[in-house]
Symmetry: D2
Subunit: 312 residues, 4 copies
């Protein structure tokens, strides 16, 4: 389509990391402009400043990025919203420039978090190798491509990009490990409900006392909203005052989610909406009886009859 | 006003009991037609059958009526609503036909519940007197007026009506005792909110399990609704299945009460609305922060912005 | 056994009421001395004063007694404990002195609560009869035996005692109606656990605020204790301050009940133990997982290891 | 003391990072042997294998380490316990080899998380400088000492160690930022209570349903235990099943904490105790009324009386 500029995505760089691999899972990324960012704050500010349309950043269990930074950045500054999540299996590959046996490998380069996640495999298969820490798994692959080290532990995308030779695949100690990334945009109407959605929020509590968090969770549970993630963070990076990052089952368009969000709005010190978006996992969590939109409609009609003296 | 028939009230009879005394506290009763009923079911059925416009019946702590019957009658059959409560101090009077000293009294007639509530006084002041059980405090006064017994324990209204001589007043062992009566009408628009109202409901729970009642109370507490009375009753008069009679602070027109009632409607087996009406006691119970109508309006507006992609 | 005096039971009189019928269901009553009391307070004071060993009084849904009085009496004064419950089907009998047809009956005597519970039957079968209120169903039977009225509505035991002729049986409008009586003794070791027990308590709450009762129920629910009855009562007979009568599933000897009671002792204004005793209904309510005595023992051992630095 | 070997501490290396600085805050570290570890798993395994007596690792808000790794390592493998926490203000220093003005600085080296936390300062004060990512703040300081870069952003300890020249201090965008480190040992008796302690635990929940986490928090709140941190983690690094890392106020030796832990032991799928240790912050969180050790003792004595038929 001539004249229509491509969507501009940014992501936590450098090129060839798990972040880029996650971004490439999004169909729209195929024909889009992709730019790596130096850091999560840089990526999100590019969106805030309209230098990018959306940013893909790690939110949970990242190999290379600190997810705390992502949370703090979403909680502060101009509001942004999550419009999509990508859950990526963390598949570590041991790659070399040319085919060679394991016993010929003397140095293995990678990001320290990656080598930490392959410790058992390295212990068993490369006990003799020296580990070299580099700044990212992509940097490790690049260095191996240049002949600086014998092997790299990196993402599959980096193997491809640097035309390396995969010596061993899936060498992580936790074969089921995944990282969760989110695509973040400027504020706008949320994606349509899919019946299997996540709503992310940050809730601030006024006082640090027994039961404050219990109160927040009760607001959700009473409306049949489940949690799939919770993380407290000190407010303003200080220990002592807290906010809570919550991933809830459901969509802001659902009646039950709407009532729960309004309950938090009324009773917490503050609540920030971080977006409603399709859940990556197909395992749908069922809401309890009495919390479907139809149940809410019926209750609204009943209340109206009560208030106007009608028969129940 | 010629042509306008007077309001027809009925009450738990006979004439001259605490029920009639409570009814006469209602200004509208002054120019109305008052008819005693044989029993609470008779009184309520008179309203259901449009033979009366309203019935005054005891709901809590009655001297002569069984309040369980009132509860069961409100929970079953055609719906009725409470439009008013009357809290009456239970002031027992010892009355005789002609003035006489305590030492001359040989027999004291009253309803057994009344003599039970004056036990300590009788023990101390009339140890020699024989207690005669009769069907009501009013019947006791009538019998004394006819010379059948030396003295009656009765309501002040009966002293007046039978022109008896009050020998000792306020002889109940619990000087602060009160009975709570309610005025019951056919279903119609509730009285306007006064900022100090009660809402009475019956809630049925589906399963008798740990936490069912907790769930009901949580629906209320989350919306800042307080309870001033709770009573479980076996459903269909059988032990084992339960419903709960609840008196809640607030009015059905309040946003918080509306949301709480809708929550019960959605999640309980059934809920019946028994009316919103002014609380007799002037001690107002304050709702917690975040539950005023304005808080609900603000939350509704905020949710609407979230759903349509507006700025928070 | 010569020299051993019989157990002395008292009950809410007069003779021939449902209370006596309930008492006679207790095997020990067969060879005991039974004495009717004028009122529930009289019956309980007879136990307190050691004039009786135990008293049988109505606790829930009574035909003739006010159960509120029973509750207040148990909550105040010297402590007493419930050692047994008797759940009696409320079987109303229409009885006459000599056999006669329904159409020959002109007057029916009974306690007003009894006639209220047979209203539908009377309406349909004896529309022409005049209802005569008397002080108890037993008094009605006695009066019919003397020829004062044509028929009585009374308990089966009164038919037998006054050698009346049962014209119609089971004439109550609620065929499943029951009354629950309890046997009350001076304080002593509770009956041994049977695995299907009830524990009755009164809990006083310090402040009348949103969530006070919720707090009490949470103390119970967290330990897996279910409720089968709850009733709030104004403290000192005044509306405004409250205590709660609770019937809980389980025995004071159970670990979970012990912890729950201790929790109430610590956090409520006051709690009075009213006894642990076998549940009359065979339907056993199962405690949730993790709340058996063995679970508590395991947890105690684990905590001890933690505290002393042992391996988990 | 000749013959007594020094305590052997390990910490997340390399030398000169915030971790070493935190460790040096511990008095016992003064005369101890300190060894840097390549990674958090290496540090903790050194303790497990008895190659070190204790390890200092970041738990919350770390500049250089991934705290998720620490959590996972504590939750899995042979149990370890936290015996101390160190909360370190994150004071970033801009340091050069020789004194020079800001306008002469062309390159600034640091760990990417450190430069991210000084973004605003860099933007304003060194807009012209190129940022060079290196593996740690300590590595940045070392490289500057060797003349490889103009300036480093690093910890104060690294300035001292590499005899650098501090050009600007406290340049972080969040002046109150702190990192929380914990000292981890093999299982043993916990440090004595100080009346201001933290207890860290991991709780696994059996089912991912509405209210599971609420149940866990209720077990704590009912016993008056407050939370100061909560973080959910997918079990086995997979999204979908969850465990919760909780920091609770109080000590395992406290009666209320003991009962709460036992409650979690009984009702959750599993719970692992991670230690009780003094809170670094002097702000003490007060437990609610009724939860002191004396309240528990009183309740135990009362229950014993109830069970044995004694007077309350």
């Amino acid at each position: 389509m001539p004249g229509v500029p491509p969507t501009r995505f940014t992501y936590l760089g450098p090129e060839g990391t798990f972040s880029e691999q996650a971004l490439r899972r999004i169909p729209a990324a195929k024909r889009a402009e992709l730019r790596p960012a130096r850091s999560v704050p840089d990526a999100l500010d590019a969106v805030r400043d309209a230098d990018a349309d959306a940013a893909l950043v790690p939110l949970e269990n990242s190999v290379e990025g600190a997810v705390g930074v992502t949370l703090d950045q979403l909680a502060e500054g101009d509001p942004l919203v999550i419009t999509r999540e990508v859950v990526l299996p963390v598949t570590f590959v041991l790659a070399t420039r040319v085919g060679r046996g394991l016993d010929e490998i003397r140095t293995v380069a990678s990001h320290p978090h990656a080598t930490a996640q392959c410790r058992d495999w390295l212990h068993k298969n490369l006990p003799q190798a020296a580990i070299v820490d580099v700044l990212s798994t992509a940097a490790a692959a690049a260095a191996v491509a240049k002949g600086e080290h014998d092997a790299a532990i990196c993402a599959p995308i980096a193997v491809e990009r640097h035309r390396l030779n995969p010596v061993a695949e899936d060498i992580g100690d936790h074969p089921d490990a995944v990282t969760r990334f989110v695509l973040v945009s400027r504020v706008g109407a949320p994606p349509a409900p899919t019946s299997n959605d996540v709503t992310s929020i940050v809730v601030y509590i006024a006082h640090d006392r027994v039961g404050s968090l219990l109160g927040v969770l009760t607001e959700l549970a009473v409306r049949g909203i489940n949690l799939t993630r919770i993380e407290s963070r000190p407010v303003n990076n200080r220990l002592g005052q807290y906010c809570f990052f919550l991933d809830c089952t459901g969509h802001v368009a659902d009646a039950r989610m709407g009532e729960a969000l309004m309950g938090l709005r009324r009773t917490s010190a503050a609540v920030r909406f971080l977006g409603s978006y399709p859940r990556a996992s197909p395992e749908k969590i069922t809401a309890p009886p009495g919390t479907a939109d139809a149940d809410f409609s019926d209750a609204v009609a009943w209340l109206s009859r009560l208030r106007h003296g009608g028969v129940e």
